[in-house]
Every structure is written in C-alpha cells, then in structure tokens.
C-alpha cells in the first residue's frame, strides 16, 4: 500500500484489524469484496462471533431466574455485557443502560414512556431535517396521539444544521429535542455537546440518536450531558437485534414501563403489579441474551483498539475518499459538511443510484443505494436517492481506489 508510510503507529494498529473480520475475506462476483456499506450494517469481528458461539454452546439459560449454574453464567454474561457497554459510553451506572432491540426501539421507548405522558396540545417535539426515519416517525406518532406539534430545524446545502434557526426554535413549548449525532445519509457530525448545552439552558431535555456516532468516535454520555442516547449493536460490529437506551437515572426512574411482561416486575397479583428496579423495568420478557453477549464483545473489541485510534484512521480514509471522489468528472457529492464522518452520498452523471449499485456489486464493491431511510434529506437535495459509500475501521485506501475504478466502469457502460 503506497499510503503505508504516512500512517502513525496508532493508525497502523487499526489498519491491521481487517483480518479480524472473516466476512471481508471473500470474493464477490469474481472480485475481492470491498465492503462500503457499514453505515447500513457493519461486519462482525471473530471476537464477537466467537463470544456468541461460546455462550450458545456452553452457557445458555434464561437470565435473572434460575438458581442453577447455567442460569448464573448466562446472567453473568448478560450483566457483564451491560457493564462493558456502560464503560464504553462512560455512563455512571448500569441502571442507566437499558437493552433494546436497537436504536429504533430505544427511540420509541422514549417517545411513548417519557414524552407521551408529558405532551398535549400546544406542546412541541423538536427534531432536525437530517434525521433517519427512526428519529422522525416515533415522534410523529406520539404527536398524533397527544395533539402536540412536531417542529423541524432546517439544514443548509452542505447538509449542516442551521444552528441559529435551531436555537430560535427552542422555545418554551418544546418538551424534547431529538437529534442525530451523525447523519446516516450525509455523514454530518452535529455539534451535539454545544446543542445540548443550549437546550439545557432552556430546560429542554435532549435525546441523541447515536446509531452512526458510536462506531466512529469516543462517546461519553456524561461529557455530552445528553438526557438520552440511543444506539444499535449492529452498526458497531455487533449482532442485529441489539441496542442500548442510555438515560439519566432520574428521568428513567420517573418513567412508566414501556412494555409489560416477565422480568420487569417485582410482584404481580391481579390487584396490581410492583415494577422492577432500573434498568429491568424497561426489559420485559426474555431478552436477546446471546445478542447482548456479542454486543458486549463488540464494545470490548473497540475499547481494545481504542476509539481515538479508530477515529484517527477513519479520518485519513475519509479525507482520501473525499479527495478521490471529488476528482471524478460528473460526480455530485451530496453532504459536504465541514465536520463529517466517513459517509459519502453521491450521484454520478445521470446514472440512477440503483444502476450504479448493481454495476459496482458486479465488481465486488458493496455500497448502499436509495433514500437511506431519510426521505426528507433526499427531498431537500431534490433527488430520489443517492449512492452512498460508508467507511468503517476495517476499510483501507485500496478499497477507495477500487470504488473509484468501479465508478469509472459504470461511466464506461453508461457512456
């Protein structure tokens, strides 16, 4: 690799980790796989796959119930993962780490359990134009249920939030601000710490959709001072069907349960039920134990690599990707924020994104095409969809060269 000499030791540590991801070691359509769709779902390292297998083969039982050895081991593995994830985001206590099926469920939990009892006509929920559908639709639903109003903060043509407009919209009627840490479609990194401080100065609690934040940067929920932070396991090299809702203990404590069932109760009789303590109050039913074990292993994998190292490596890759893509004739880059993660949406000439996706796949290059579950963002840029290349820690400079070569091939076919 011609770029190797430029790498610092820290970056080289991350660059070497590609071999940890078995799915990357294969040919697709006769070419070595180049996986540039990690913003949709990231691949899993052996450490995660092995942790799940070990748990399933040796330790599986239900959690928080039996007195037998396997139940004890399963509980230890499950609660151990909770503590690993607590440390990963620097939450003060495991009582603040609620396991969910993913970011989507975490946001729905806050919409229904935190917001719904507090909202009525005249109240507002504030979101931004950058959001993924998972951070739009739950708020639309709760606004419909309560007569509250959904207010959307604008973006500029680089795909950055208009902060002055956002702050102006933070009026007395706003009961919650829900905002993405990193835009999934455009890669924009929002200055969430400053935004949270502004919101708090107006007594507005803030939920951060961190699905695209945690895989790429060190997230410290106490430093951010966010009230809620939602993220998914499968975007950070863990299994699908896992997620975390971080919430400040005082807020979670005051919230009613989201779902009823086993595990979330202390005592049940037909005259009434006493709910379990945090975080179990929000975890009704047998959870996704093996998934959570893998999720914990993913967080440990990232901790061992060092998120600062991951960030530094991705920064180099991202810069290179922008530079190489910008040089392509007829390319239209969508999302050119000054501060952004390794996600690039683009259009090439008049080639429809789906045609691009098929031609690239033929050359072993996997990208996402379509609206990226962010139709309002697409509408803002006046496009039905885009092609999107998204980077993760296991990508390298060669992957980007392969992307560019595949785009040249597409231009040739459509010439």
């Amino acid at each position: 690799m011609t770029h190797a000499q430029k790498l610092t030791d820290a970056q080289s540590v991350v660059a070497a980790c590609r071999a940890d991801f078995p799915a990357l070691d294969q040919d697709v359509n006769g070419h070595r796989l180049v996986y540039l769709d990690s913003a949709a779902s990231a691949q899993q390292p052996s450490a995660v796959i092995d942790a799940i297998t070990r748990y399933e083969r040796h330790d599986h039982a239900n959690v928080h119930r039996g007195v037998h050895t396997l139940s004890h081991r399963a509980t230890d593995a499950y609660e151990g993962a909770r503590d690993t994830l607590r440390a990963f985001i620097n939450a003060a206590s495991t009582t603040e780490v609620v396991f969910t099926s993913g970011t989507t469920e975490a946001i729905n939990l806050v919409a229904q359990s935190f917001c719904r009892p507090r909202l009525g006509p005249g109240d507002k929920v504030l979101i931004t134009h950058l959001e993924h559908h998972a951070n739009i639709v739950p708020w639309q639903l709760v606004c419909e249920q309560t007569g509250a109003q959904l207010v959307v903060a604008p973006i500029n043509d680089r795909g950055e939030l208009e902060l002055d407009a956002l702050y102006t919209l933070m009026d007395d009627a706003v009961r919650l601000l829900a905002i993405s840490h990193v835009s999934n479609a455009l890669g924009t990194i929002n200055p969430v710490k400053a935004i949270i401080a502004e919101a708090h100065s107006r007594d507005i609690p803030v939920l951060v959709d961190g699905a695209q934040g945690v895989p790429h940067m060190k997230v410290d929920v106490r430093d951010l001072d966010c009230d809620f932070y939602a993220f998914s396991g499968h975007k950070m090299f863990g299994p699908t069907g896992t997620g975390v809702l971080y919430g400040k203990e005082a807020l979670l404590d005051a919230m009613p349960p989201y779902q009823g069932g086993g595990d979330m109760i202390l005592e049940v009789s037909f005259s009434g039920t006493t709910f379990n303590e945090l975080p179990y109050k929000f975890e009704a039913g047998t959870p996704n134990i093996s998934g959570v074990v893998g999720f914990g292993a993913a967080a440990k994998y990232l901790e061992d690599l060092g998120m600062q190292n991951v960030e530094a490596w991705e920064h180099e890759l991202s810069k290179y990707m922008m530079q190489q893509l910008s040089a392509i004739e007829d390319i239209r880059l969508i999302g050119t924020a000054a501060h952004k993660a390794g996600v690039q949406s683009f259009l090439l000439g008049d080639i429809h994104p789906h045609d691009l996706g098929t031609i690239l796949d033929h050359q072993g290059v996997a990208i996402r095409t379509g609206h990226h579950c962010a139709m309002p963002v697409m509408e803002f840029f006046g496009v039905p969809g885009t092609a999107r290349a998204s980077l993760a820690l296991y990508n390298n400079f060669d992957d980007i060269d392969r992307l560019v070569a595949a785009l040249d091939k597409a231009r040739e076919i459509f010439a």
Partner: protein
C-alpha cells in the same frame, strides 16, 4: 445462475444496448391527452414512481400509451418498451404480454413460450438480478392496474 455466480462483463447482459437506448431516450414519455385509463406504479423499496396513461377505444384496442416518472435505467427502459409494445394491441393481448413478461422475469419458461416477446426479450437479463426484477415489472403492474381500472396505485410489494 444467480447474481452471486455471474462475472464482471456479464453486467452488460443486464445493460444491453437496447435497454440503455430506451433508458436514455424513453419513447412515449409524458402525459397522454385523451387518456381513458391511467395508473400509478410505486416501488416502495427504492421510491421509483411512474404513471402510465392509456387511450383505449370502444373495441378495447389500445390506441395510445405514454408514461411519466423517474426511475433507474431498468424501470424506465421497461416502461418505454411497454408503451412501444402495447400500442395497437387489444387489451386482452396486452394482458397476455403482461403474463409473458412477468413469467420471463420470474424465470417461468412455460409462460414465455405462449407469446412472442420480440424486443421485450432484452429484459431477460434482469432475471439474474433478483433485487432488480421489481424495477423491470413496475410499469407492467401499472399496465395491469390501468386496464383493470384499479383505483389504488400498483405496488411492486
């Protein structure tokens, strides 16, 4: 053979010259004055949307066809080929073409043999790309809805 087994240059089997020509220069593109039938086609997976217009006379002959909308090369080419094909046909014959095209795209050879597909065979390459079959069938589902005068938009889902 599935998409996983095809090799690099076979992508031209999908993007044949005829397909690229119709994608770039779609025939009968726009609204149709005096349309008697119309239907929308929506592919919720990718957001592709088109509207198909037909002018059908008292003898059930399709005198005119046109479409508007946006989509990938496959969906635009398929819609363009559709309009070229059905003009002049009786609506029953057009439905027989619908059956044959959808059979061709789903790999059902028996349905294919009943009707001579002519240049619509250019769409056969799509069969190897399961994720793209819906792009090719979108306009055809709109044709079926239009002829049946369905009120709800045709969906590929």
């Amino acid at each position: 053979m599935t998409a996983g087994g095809v090799h690099n240059d076979d992508v031209r089997e999908l993007y044949r010259d005829l397909i690229l020509d119709h994608a770039r220069n779609p025939r009968h593109f726009g609204k149709l004055d005096h349309a008697t039938h119309s239907a929308e086609g929506i592919n919720p997976l990718c957001g592709d949307k088109l509207k198909l217009y037909l002018a059908v006379d008292a003898d059930e002959t399709i005198k005119g066809a046109a479409f508007e909308g946006s989509g990938c090369a496959i969906s635009v080419a398929s819609a363009s080929l559709l309009t070229d094909t059905v003009i002049g046909l009786n609506s029953n014959d057009a439905m027989a073409i619908f059956d044959a095209v959808t059979a061709q795209l789903s790999g059902d050879a028996t349905g294919e043999r009943k009707v001579d597909l002519g240049k619509l065979r250019a769409l056969a390459g799509v069969r190897e790309y399961p994720t793209r079959v819906k792009c090719a069938t979108l306009a055809w589902h709109a044709l079926k809805s239009a002829l049946r005068q369905d009120t709800a938009p045709a969906s590929t889902e």
